[in-house]
């Protein structure tokens, strides 16, 4: 099916509405991120700044709608995951495409007003680029929702998806989100802003697979709020993009809320993958965990900044944070910064970070048993990522994730010396 994208597209002038203009002024006031900002310390902010500035020099062109055949785009971008266009919410360059999405328990509207105040320049820019927010909600009998971000850069492109997902009280929902790219030729920035609202007792499982083109810069902000007894199980796999910056803010606003986050990220060549997580325990007896594993080869940079804040009075908090990194070359760099900020008295918090190479003794042991070098290394890498992959082992995505890992590791393998 061929579809052109939403009627809210940029036609002539930009920013259009008063709200967008106000957001643009906020963006200008806050300014593009620089490495002087603590939260952007290790990222190539100059590159982001230059790319955004260049795209904003001709905003009408860089945000122009494109027409894409959805079925063939899905087949091309996700050859390894059969996604039925009728069951997928497809965004082309950030704008909702008419894919004939039929709901299956999900209700979508793009009439939603902007949510929340944007606290970062990039989120303000996202607001300036969107007249509306795509709002999603779900009932108790939903099927897993595929959200597919298709980026196609036939010309320099600024894609600004803006989503608000609400899971009502005591409803369970599953989301699988893909970020994929059809052509990677023209300079592309993806600047996403996603809000997740989990009402009391809501349960959300969200698995996100990012495999954007290798010249694309992606800045992806997620803001989740969890009311009492709400739970969120989050998994992300990052293998693509020149820069993938994932900034998650999670507020545990109700007692006994739980957020378990895990992620695996692999960077090659000159890639930069930057995970920034901030979890705030605002109420008592909530729990959270972070289990992130990074593998960096080539001259890439893998960054993890994880912060847990426990507010005064949030007694009974349980928070765990772990980031482990595997260096696959002498020139790759890893930055890891786990942080705890605790203002309550009775809490159980733990954090840890490690960075190392494949253990040469373990590798020799496997070789001495006759296992081929590539297989032996793969066994050790699998063992390394096992804890982070545990939450997705028994899901339909498991095979896809394994394949993506294998493909990316094959790219990293030449950098490994036995």
């Amino acid at each position: 099916m061929s579809a052109s994208v939403s009627p809210h597209a940029v036609e002539s002038a930009w920013p259009q509405s008063k709200e967008q203009q106000a957001a643009y002024r906020r963006f200008q006031a806050m300014g593009l991120p620089t490495q002087r900002d603590e939260e952007w310390r290790y990222a190539p902010t100059d590159e982001i700044g230059a790319a955004v500035t260049s795209l904003l020099a001709d905003p009408v062109s860089s945000m122009r709608d494109v027409s894409v055949d959805i079925d063939s785009a899905l087949a091309a971008a996700l050859p390894d995951v059969p996604v039925d266009s009728g069951r997928a919410l497809v965004l082309v360059n950030g704008r909702l495409a008419d894919s004939g999405f039929s709901g299956n328990g999900w209700t979508v509207s793009d009439n939603g007003v902007a949510v929340g105040g944007d606290t970062t320049a990039m989120a303000a820019l996202n607001a300036a680029c969107n007249a509306r927010t795509i709002a999603l909600t779900v009932d108790g009998n939903s099927e897993p929702l595929h959200i597919v971000h298709v980026v196609t850069a036939q010309r320099p492109t600024l894609a600004s998806p803006r989503l608000h997902v609400t899971v009502p009280a005591n409803v369970s929902a599953n989301v699988v989100e893909h970020l994929v790219q059809l052509e990677a030729d023209a300079p592309t920035v993806v600047n996403a802003a996603v809000w997740i609202s989990l009402q009391s007792g809501a349960a959300l499982r969200w698995h996100r697979l990012q495999c954007l083109g290798n010249s694309t810069l992606s800045v992806y902000e997620t803001n989740a709020t969890l009311e009492s007894e709400a739970t969120m199980d989050w998994f992300s796999l990052d293998t693509g993009a020149a820069l993938a910056r994932n900034h998650m803010r999670i507020a545990l606003q109700g007692e006994f809320a739980r957020a378990d986050l895990s992620g695996v990220y692999l960077s090659a060549d000159q890639q930069v993958i930057d995970n920034r997580l901030a979890i705030r325990h605002a109420q008592a007896n909530a729990s959270s965990s972070q289990e992130y594993a990074g593998i960096a080869g080539g001259e890439s940079r893998a960054i993890f900044q994880g912060k847990v804040r426990v507010d005064e009075g949030a007694d009974g908090t349980k928070a765990k944070q772990r980031n482990r990194n595997l260096l696959m070359s002498d020139t790759a760099k890893v930055y890891t910064k786990p942080e705890l900020e605790i203002y309550a008295d009775e809490v159980e918090c733990a954090h840890g970070a490690t960075t190392g190479q494949i253990d040469p003794d373990a590798l020799f042991y496997l070789l001495a048993r006759g296992i081929h070098a590539t297989h032996a290394k793969r066994m050790l890498v699998d063992a390394f990522v096992a804890a982070s992959l545990a939450p997705v082992n028994d899901t339909p995505l498991a095979a896809t994730i394994q394949q993506r890992l294998a493909d990316k590791l094959a790219q990293l393998q030449p950098d490994v010396s036995p």
Partner: protein, 252 residues
Amino acid sequence: MPLLSIKDLHVSVGSTPILKGLSLDVDAGEVHAVMGPNGSGKSTLSHVLAGKPGYKVDSGTVSYDGQDLLDLEPDERARAGVFLAFQYPVEIPGVNNAYLLRAALNAARTTRGEEEIDAVGFMKLVRDKCALMQMDQQFLTRSVNEGFSGGEKKRNEVLQMAVLEPRLCLLDETDSGLDIDALKVVAEGINTLRSTERAMLMVTHYQRLLSYVEPDVVHVLADGVIQTSGGKELALKLEAEGYDWVRRESAA
């Protein structure tokens, strides 16, 4: 032709020479023991034969089954039938014992042009070998050597050897860290593997293991060369008199 033939082998670590012209032949069907004091180069010998990185072969040759052993990568050596039972078996969290064993067995089989073993055949084989080593099968589902006691680790080494059926077994201080019961089990496992097709080279500091696994030949390694060789009575003499007399004789 001997299965293993080492000629005038010189090996150093960094700038320190460790083996200084070691020569040794082992025929198929024979069990040789290499004994020697600490620091004599015993472990270096077994490591070099298995291809462990960190050792530099300065000169000399090692032929195994007609091939230049030193020319092969460590995994190629293993698939060609060389097995090193480690003095300190490595713990590998997250890699399951059964998976390692099956991958190792299949790598060897496909190299020999045989079909991979199926799951049922593999489980039967491993069950039998576990019984031989008096090991609980739950070991198989645990991570390689993780949390194993010293004795369990050594038994696991011999279990792997029993499953892989190598042609040349290098046993590096396999008796160290074993209590007497575990020593008997390990020795029995080794004895079961003695065959006319297979050679064994046991590197050991003490005579203890040799009471249970009787060697055909005993070599005394000191200062990087074989000082003297003899029958199993040589091991008893070493146990009774220590190593000093060997050095005195060779100096004389």
